[in-house]
Symmetry: C2
Subunit: 410 residues, 2 copies
């Protein structure tokens, strides 16, 4: 058993330094994928990794890999990773924590002059949030061959700019993507939910991810003047949309335990005070740890959307744009995380990830695991997202332990 | 009795020429108040009026007045008017028709070398729609001393630009506003509703306007991650907002006959697919011809908004930003319109205006009346807004008759 220790102060300082890029007034971060700010954060990460003796490369999706050689470089690397892009009103920890915890593992191995058997890599995945280019997790998804490269490059933002164009613009469009062996993949992340805090546990040993489905709905009615158009002859797209919001929320409550159901986005057109809305675009995000229940939620949503459209004489465009099934993590990786927590003396519990993460896609091409740490009030995707330096350090120590467990060495 | 006739072809051509400024692909117009396109439309109107021998001036609100002298220029002018600004996805007729019908009256008087006793003026009122600078009808409202000038100049668009700044920028900020006698005010307008078409009447003799109230509502919950945040602990602002949309629609139906109730605008924040909405801004537009019923609608809305906020643990900001009472038009003006329709042999009916119009404010400072003509399927505030050349000409002929009735002359 090794005696390696991460440097909690150094990790915290790196996190705070990274959080300055795209810092918002309310203490959060706005660093949308492939913007100039995203490039700035990538450049900083690359510099830090090179300063730590890593060889840095990036692939055709702009996924970055910083490699610390092992004793046997023919072995597939053991990888830590996450993302540096954020939500429009995101926090300091979501994503950046997993990336910088990986870097801290490299730095701690360097400090101890510890040689792993297999090489260690730290990965930054492109466009994990999907806020700018839906859907989420496109970089790791392309690496895992969930999306083909052309499809991934073609994903566009609201202004029609594509991932391919923006990668080239910021200078992070390399060659090739995926198709190589990864020995194991670990991702440290804040929980983004309230469970660890409520149960007073330091480490969440993540056993897998929920199934997830994303939808886009467009309701088209008839825009007309809010004054002289009688109530009886209206075709108000927003009245129909509000019934779907109600249905989504009702379905979320009906499919407990485990269901989450959210309308996160809504665009009303023409969005003028005295015009009856002619069109509404909205998104739905459904999650459930049980795929059959998730399917039943899907069916209930379709019934509700059809009913709302029929009731208000609206045209309905209903599309499931993305999904993945419930994903259990590989047992040896889950065990390495649990053992890593016990080794360091941290309280821990098993937990299912409510959020999508790059690790969910990586689980398709490599043995994978995740480490959760508590975040304040369970709040994430919010500028007030917060975590304690102690919990942040604990998760990183468990990441170090799990990586050394899998990479071997002395 | 005079024998004056308007030139329907000339009127139609002027309307189509004006509609080119800000023309949209779908055949409508986007000419928001005090934009460069609005300036272009004003410049064209001014040129046409000067070509017709009018003296043109504008006041501190950018309201334009084109004056054709009468025999006795000490008499207060008889005025026709409306507006040239449009909704973001507006039609060719809303507003522009009343202005260009006024111009056609002047041209027809010129053709016949007809001298009115009182001078005739054609007015263009600034920011009638209120789409860019809420609320609506700010130019005529300032003329009628509903708003004081400083307040009106301070109205800001979504980017924080004010009416005062934008008037100066486009060169239409003159001196003074209102405070002079107007002999009578007439406004020709498409009905913007389905009643005349359904009853097969050419002319709507408008007896007055509905009472109207505008509200702004902000619901604040807590934005957090759509995945790991349990349904039970959410404070989803959009779920609360959708209940208010439902309540507004229900109130509109409950207060029949006569009620109109619309949520036209909604902004969701942060508007990301996998973030529970932390804040929603929405507007409500209530109308009723009976002020007591309108007050009862207001009370019902407040109860519903409070209930939605309490149910989802949201902070509620509820503000009535604008209102005016039901406004009957002066009897002699209503009679002049009715007589003008009969004189020309057009079918007609009395009607209450569902929409707000500059005439509603003008009714506070001058005897006022309105002339409605049918529009296709009752649709307005929509790019497909349409009316027939015959109906457009008919309304203009009635306007001419009413103006000569009030201005006198031979």
């Amino acid at each position: 058993m090794h005696n390696l220790k991460i440097d909690s102060g150094r990790l915290w300082n790196s996190l705070m330094e990274m959080a300055k890029i795209g810092a918002t007034e309310k203490g959060g971060v706005c660093r949308l994928a492939l913007t100039d700010l995203d490039r700035e954060s990538r450049d900083l990460f690359v510099r830090w990794c090179e300063d730590s003796g890593c060889t840095v490369s990036f692939d055709a999706m702009g996924n970055i890999f910083a490699r610390r050689p092992g004793r046997n470089n023919d072995l597939p690397p053991v990888m830590a990773g996450s993302h540096l892009d954020s939500q429009p009103t995101g926090g300091k920890f979501d994503g950046a924590y997993g990336v910088l915890a990986g870097l801290e593992v490299v730095r701690a191995l360097n400090d101890a002059e510890f040689e792993t058997e297999a090489p260690v890599e730290v990965a930054v995945w492109t466009n994990e949030e999907g806020s700018r280019f839906p859907p989420a997790m496109v970089g790791s998804g392309a690496f895992a061959r969930i999306f083909d490269l052309e499809e991934a490059h073609g994903k566009a933002d609201m202004d029609g700019k594509t991932i391919g164009e923006e990668l080239a613009r910021i200078g992070y469009k390399g060659e090739g993507c995926g198709g190589r062996d990864i020995g194991a993949y670990f991702e440290a992340h804040i929980e983004q939910g309230p469970v660890l805090e409520a149960k007073e546990k330091t480490i969440g040993v993540v056993t897998g991810g929920q199934g997830q489905r994303w939808y886009e709905i467009v309701l088209t009615g008839r825009e007309s003047h809010a004054g002289p158009t009688p109530m009886a002859t209206r075709r108000d797209a927003l009245v129909g949309a509000s019934e779907i919001v109600q249905a989504v929320n009702r379905i979320g409550h009906e499919f407990q335990p485990g269901a989450c159901a959210t309308v996160g986005m809504m665009q009303v057109s023409p969005n003028s005070r005295n015009v009856i809305p002619g069109e509404v675009f909205m998104t739905v995000d459904f999650r459930h740890p049980d795929d059959d229940r998730l399917k039943a939620m899907n069916d209930a949503l379709r019934v509700a959307a059809d009913a709302a459209a029929a009731k208000h004489t609206l045209m309905l465009k209903f599309e499931q744009i993305w999904s993945f099934p419930a994903t259990p993590f590989e047992q040896s990786c889950v065990n390495a995380v649990r053992k890593g927590a016990e080794q360091a003396g941290f309280s821990h519990m098993d937990i299912v990830s409510g959020a999508g993460h790059d690790a969910i896609y990586m689980a398709g091409v490599a043995p994978s695991g995740m480490i959760f740490v508590p975040c304040e009030d369970g709040i994430s995707h919010n500028e007030i997202e917060n975590a304690t330096p102690e919990d942040i350090a604990a998760g990183c120590q468990v990441l170090l332990n799990a990586i050394v467990d899998k990479a071997g060495g002395r």
